[in-house]
Subunit: 435 residues, 2 copies
Amino acid sequence: MTQHLTSFLEIDSQSDFTIHNLPYGIFSESNPTHKRVGVAIGDWVLDLAALTAHGLLKIEGNQDYFNQPTLNAFIESGKHNWQYVRQTLQNLLSANNPTLRDNAELRTLVLRPQNAVTLHLPIHVPGYTDFYSSKEHATNVGTMFRDPKNALLPNWSELPVGYNGRASSVIVSGTDIVRPSGQIKLPNSERPVFSATRKLDFELETAFIVGKPTSLGQPIAIEDAWDHIFGMVLLNDWSARDIQQWEYVPLGPFNAKTFASAISPWVVTMDALEPFKVRGPVQQPQPLSYLQENIANSYDIQLSVEIQSPKSQTADVICQTNFKYMYWSMAQQLTHHTIAGCNVQVGDLMGSGTISGPTEDSYGSLLELTWNTTKPLTLANGEQRGFLEDGDRVIMKGHCEKDGIRIGFGQVENTILAAHRFDFQETEEVSYETV
Amino acid sequence: MTQHLTSFLEIDSQSDFTIHNLPYGIFSESNPTHKRVGVAIGDWVLDLAALTAHGLLKIEGNQDYFNQPTLNAFIESGKHNWQYVRQTLQNLLSANNPTLRDNAELRTLVLRPQNAVTLHLPIHVPGYTDFYSSKEHATNVGTMFRDPKNALLPNWSELPVGYNGRASSVIVSGTDIVRPSGQIKLPNSERPVFSATRKLDFELETAFIVGKPTSLGQPIAIEDAWDHIFGMVLLNDWSARDIQQWEYVPLGPFNAKTFASAISPWVVTMDALEPFKVRGPVQQPQPLSYLQENIANSYDIQLSVEIQSPKSQTADVICQTNFKYMYWSMAQQLTHHTIAGCNVQVGDLMGSGTISGPTEDSYGSLLELTWNTTKPLTLANGEQRGFLEDGDRVIMKGHCEKDGIRIGFGQVENTILAAHRFDFQETEEVSYETV
């Protein structure tokens, strides 16, 4: 059992940011270019650059890891430093350490109210890969788009299917999403039309961040893979289903997903997640030996999605699920990614794939929740949703709770803006209902 | 007609690197960390950092664009500077300019023999996208892997199909290729085996390099697209066909291509390519208006592939084709890439897709040249090839020639090394012939 720690700071029992968590992010105050590393604790941000300046955090070699616009330099400095900083901060914040507790002036210098800072993309993402590791999600999509009798393709059970995403459009929570436009093939027309997407969707995912690089041609053995993972974030892998369906055969999704992939601003470390480890689903058939692990290789992370209509003051929870349903583990994903020789870099973002659970209210996308609009959702204010409408806000949350200890991811939320108007808008608008 | 320029340097009439070309690269000498920008001219490299130090190249603002390990800073400085540097260098190298011509000491300081320098990856590649824009290639692959009657999928003629590649494994010519391993599904077995690929292939491509970035949500109009392109390189998009065939449905190629994508070291500018513009193939059906251009939007670039067996002293030409066969133009590719809102960054690499021509000796991959091993190639020394063997060297070359003016890309070449031996090698080796 994990030791309960308490902080001298007043932290709500339902806070995601307890002393057990200490996730890393990038923040600024009035000067938006002065970005630096902070750690979330309760309603505050602990300023690691300020802590260092005041001699409370000393890293070997005196590298400036915290006056940085991304976490990459700190992450690259290695696991030894990750653990040293975590221990140092837990000690500084603990109820029985007087250093900050009894020094109001020092506290003012190193702690900022979270609601007074701006949070930025925490990572420079050199590469973004998205997996497809929920059996329930892959089965649902295969049933709708291909063949219900052979919903799961033969390769799905043998390897963690994944594809390269677009790193340039990875954005932080809070960034607005312009409804994308592109080619859409309507069922009864011979040729595609150019239009704003009518099937704008979210995908509830988590993603892990690579903490230790490899060289080209150097596969990661499954037993070493966990050492290459720094932490996790929530990921909304924004998708335009109608663009996707027209474009994705044979080379995979492209414009349907490259317009935005949003992550939560706080990176929760694997050390913080350690108490919440569980065994993943039994894998049948047993994977080839390069993918075999016989350990608790999943995490009990409760996840939810909320939608807030622009006509409503409150958000509706429309999905509740759990990371533990994922079939393929993060170690299996990373090992498979490198097995043919591909190198990984610090900051690489590896999405889980949409996380759907076994029940209809645990599906991680509107495509599945509304079964491609055939079963629209009814919101609390009476509005219906097949896919997302302009002005909708989508909020994803995640947390772990066990033995009275809680840690969480905060949230990733974005609001939909109306599509661009193009000069060459060539086809008439087709109303949503006709699609 | 282009004006013929002559240099005071002796340049072979068959050289790729005439005064009309002036491609940019990154080189170092004895100290491998002192990387800097050079321009290829005949058998020499013109050192732009040295030129600047000696006051012969003055860029506004005195930014240090040339003492850099990549071309990105120079490219990002904008088209005005690209043109200014090109004009300055053509002037300095011309037969009637005495500055370098009559100053042997100065020449020694700024010109290095190409065979005495090391060439590096010229670009930091933030994103790598690969298109699929040869109709002949798409038809050949569709015929072999799917259905000869419907070889070309319906979306192919409507949009430049593309997918995200893996940027981390973009490598420069000369880097050895370790034969990748992974999951392969043999025709008569129920489950995949883990094995080194038996179907290692090249793909003859060119790629363009983005020179001007965009913001998220800002599509590039087709008439502006050419302004966003800095130059071109040769690209060998290494592929493992057996891994590809098992993994690629439904999300596209992944491990089959992420192990290496090799580019030529010299970036040929669009300014140098200008005299070789031609019209691309007629597009039928006429594309949607966002993709329409009615100009010479292709280039007459002669391309070839050679294989050198480790048992041979010479290389065999096995493919001769031309860039002008490509159905979708680079402007159409870039416009389509951004139409849904995806942003591009300076240095982004955009592969053409395999360049196959109309005849059997103009196919840009062994998959097509040997029709998936059913028509093996016979090399000059009598050896046969279905796919590549360990020790094989693959060399791709490209050049343009018109009105007595020649410019070229040099080459991209790599040699195949034997696969890793894995501890967990679980399945017996299956000989090549049985696949």
